[in-house]
C-alpha cells in the first residue's frame, strides 16, 4: 500500500493545475480515489453526509453480482459439456466458462470506461463511477456466443446514448446495461435470440436431441411440457444469458443489496407480486399452453429475477417515491410476463418492461407527489 501511495503521490504534480498532464486530471482523480480515501474535505455549505460514497455503493453492487458471475461461468461450462456430450469435472466447467465469459467482461469494461474517460476529459468533470456496475451487468445479460465486437458497439452506444447525452451518471433515464442489450436485440437479432447463441459449442459435434433453445424458447413452442423442472431453473442449470439463469445467485445478490440498503426491497417485492398476478391471470385464462405454465414457475424462468434484483432497482432510473416504487415494480413484473406470453418474438419481456417503466418512472413520481400534495391540502382546508 505504501508503495502504491508513493507512486500515486509522485505522479500527482503532473496532473494538478499547471502540470503537464492537467487535461487528464479526471482520469488521475478517478484512479486515486479508487485506490485511496479522498484526501479533500467539503469546503462550504451544509451537507448531509453518509459514510458511503458513489464508489462504495457501486462496489457493493458488484459484490452482489459476484455470485451471478461465478455461477454464470460454471453454467456456461456445464451447458457446453452437456451439449457436446462429454463428462467433465466441476473445475473444468468453471475454467471453460471463465475463458468464455472473461473476454465479455474485459471488452465491456474496456470500451465503457474508455468512452466514459473520454467524456470526462472533454467535459472536464471528475469521473463518476456509474459504469462500474453497468460494465459488469452488460456481460451477464449477453448470450455467451455473442461476438465481442457487438458487445463493444453496444457498450459504446449505451454509455453515450443511454447516459452521457443526458448528463452522465445519475442523470440517465434508461438503465445503460439494458440499453446495450436492447440495442443488440434490435440491431443483430440473429445473434441475440434463437437457438444457436445460448450455449458455447465451439462448433463441435453436439449430442442427439440437442436444440440449444432456452427455457422460454421452448415454452413458446411446447408450453408446460417444454420448460425445465422448477428446481433446475431455481438453481440455474438451464441455458440462457450468462448470468441470469440462477435464481439462487440472484437472491444472494438481493440479500446483499437489501441488507446494505442500496437496492429497494419495495421494487423487488412488488415486481414479484406483479409477475405472479399476471402469471396467475394467465393460468385462469389458459387460452394456450404457454399460459398454463404455473405462475411461480413462470417467474423463475428467463431473466425475471436478474432483472428484478439488478436492473429494476437501479436507483437512478427507477421511481424515487416509496409509493412510486410499488407501482413501478408492480408494472415491471406485470408487463414483463405479459410481453413474454403475448409476443413470442420477444421471448424475454423483462428487458422491454423495465425499459418501458424506466421511461414511465418520472411520470409515476409526478402523480404520487401531486397526489400527496392535494391530499395534504385537503386536510389543511378541513382544519381551516
Amino acid at each position: 500500500m505504501k508503495f502504491l501511495k508513493n507512486i500515486v503521490d509522485s505522479v500527482k504534480p503532473n496532473f494538478e493545475k499547471g502540470g503537464k498532464l492537467q487535461k487528464y486530471w479526471p482520469v488521475f482523480d478517478g484512479f486515486e480515489t479508487f485506490l485511496f480515501v479522498p484526501g479533500h474535505a467539503t469546503e462550504n455549505g451544509a451537507h448531509i453526509r453518509d459514510g458511503i460514497d458513489l464508489k462504495r455503493t457501486m462496489v457493493t453492487v458488484i459484490l452482489a453480482l459476484v455470485p451471478c458471475l461465478l455461477f454464470g461461468m460454471y453454467n456456461v461450462g456445464y451447458q457446453h459439456f452437456l451439449a457436446i456430450g462429454e463428462s467433465a469435472e466441476f473445475i473444468d466447467m468453471v475454467i471453460y466458462g471463465a475463458i468464455r465469459v472473461m473476454p465479455l467482461v474485459i471488452v465491456s469494461y474496456g470500451v465503457g470506461l474508455g468512452v466514459e474517460f473520454l467524456f470526462c476529459i472533454k467535459n472536464g468533470h471528475s469521473i463518476q463511477e456509474g459504469f462500474l456496475v453497468s460494465g459488469m451487468l452488460i456481460p451477464l445479460i449477453m448470450p455467451v456466443e455473442v461476438p465481442l465486437w457487438m458487445v463493444a458497439v453496444a457498450t459504446a452506444f449505451a454509455v453515450v446514448f443511454g447516459k452521457e447525452v443526458f448528463g452522465g451518471t445519475g442523470m440517465n433515464i434508461l438503465n445503460p446495461a439494458l440499453t446495450a442489450r436492447a440495442f443488440l436485440f434490435f440491431a443483430y437479432p440473429t445473434k441475440m435470440s434463437g437457438n444457436s447463441v445460448w450455449i458455447a459449442t465451439d462448433g463441435m459435434q453436439t449430442v442427439d436431441g440437442y436444440t440449444g433453445a432456452t427455457a422460454l424458447g421452448n415454452a413458446v413452442e411446447q408450453g408446460v411440457a417444454g420448460i425445465p423442472p422448477f428446481m433446475d431453473a431455481m438453481i440455474g442449470i438451464i441455458p440462457g444469458s450468462v448470468g441470469e439463469t440462477s435464481v439462487l445467485a440472484c437472491l444472494i445478490g438481493a440479500v446483499i443489496l437489501i441488507a446494505s440498503g442500496i437496492g429497494s426491497w419495495r421494487i423487488m417485492l412488488s415486481m414479484i407480486i406483479g409477475g405472479y398476478v399476471m402469471g396467475y391471470l394467465f393460468n385462469i385464462w389458459g387460452a394456450n399452453s404457454y399460459m398454463e405454465i404455473p405462475a411461480h414457475h413462470q417467474l423463475v424462468l428467463g431473466g425475471f429475477f436478474f432483472g428484478m434484483v439488478f436492473m429494476a432497482t437501479d436507483p437512478v432510473s427507477a421511481a424515487q417515491t416509496n409509493m412510486g416504487k410499488w407501482i413501478y415494480g408492480f408494472f415491471c413484473g406485470l408487463l414483463g410476463i405479459m410481453i413474454r406470453v403475448f409476443n413470442p418474438a420477444y421471448p424475454e419481456g423483462i428487458m422491454m418492461a423495465i425499459l418501458f417503466m424506466n421511461v414511465m418512472a418520472p411520470l409515476i413520481d409526478h402523480y404520487v407527489v401531486q397526489g400527496n400534495i392535494s391530499k395534504r391540502l385537503k386536510r389543511a382546508q378541513v382544519i381551516a
Binding site: P147, W149, M150, F161, V165, F183, F186, A187, Y188, P189, T190, K191
Partner: protein, 220 residues
Amino acid sequence: MAETVTVEEKEPLFSKKNRQLLIDPLNDQNPITIQVLGICSALAITTQVKNAVVMTISVMFVMMAGNVIVSLLRNGIPDRIRIIVQLVIVAALVILVDQVLKAFVYDVSKQLSVFVGLIITNCIIMGRLEAFALANKPWPSLLDGFGNAIGYGWVLVVVAVVREILGAGKIFGIQIIPDAVYAFGYMNNNFVILPPMALIIVGIIIWIQRSKNTALIESH
C-alpha cells in the same frame, strides 16, 4: 422571370439579404435540426440515399414553385381562406410530382409510397408559405424555398448515408463494405433501418451542430 423581378426590386439579384435567405436555412435556421419541422419524412424515407435524394428534389420543386405562386398571389389571397388556397396550390404541385415520379422512377415512387402525398402536410412547406411567401416578393421567395429545401435535403442525405452504410453496407445501392469484412463476422445493423435510430441520428447531427455553431449554444 428572374430578370423582371430584378428590375422591379432595383437591388442586386444576390444582395446580402438574398444570400442570407439561401444560407440561413443550411445552418442557423435549418428546418429539421433547428426548427424541428418535417421530421416524419426524415425518419421514414431515409433508409436509402436514393430515396432521400428523390424526396429532396420533390420537396425542392414543391417548395420553390409553391413559394413563387403564393408570393405572386399574395395580394389577392383573402386572409381568412389563405390556408385553403395554399393547400390547393401545394396539393396540385404534389400531384404533379407524384405523377412524374410514377412515370419515370416507379420503384422509388413505390418505396416513398405515401410520403410523396404527405409532402402536402410537410410542415416546412406550409411554414415557408405562411412565414415567408405571403409577405415577400417572388424572387426572395424562390431563394427562400430553394434554401430551405437544401437545408432539409442535406440532413436527409446525411441521415440516409449513415443508415444505408450501417444498415445495408451500400450507398446508392452499390455495396461499399467489402465481402471480406462480412467474412470476419461483421453484420448489417438492423436497428439502423428502424425509424427510432433515424431519430437518434438526427439527434447526433443536432448535437454536433450545436457544439460547433456558437450562435446556437444556449447560455445557462
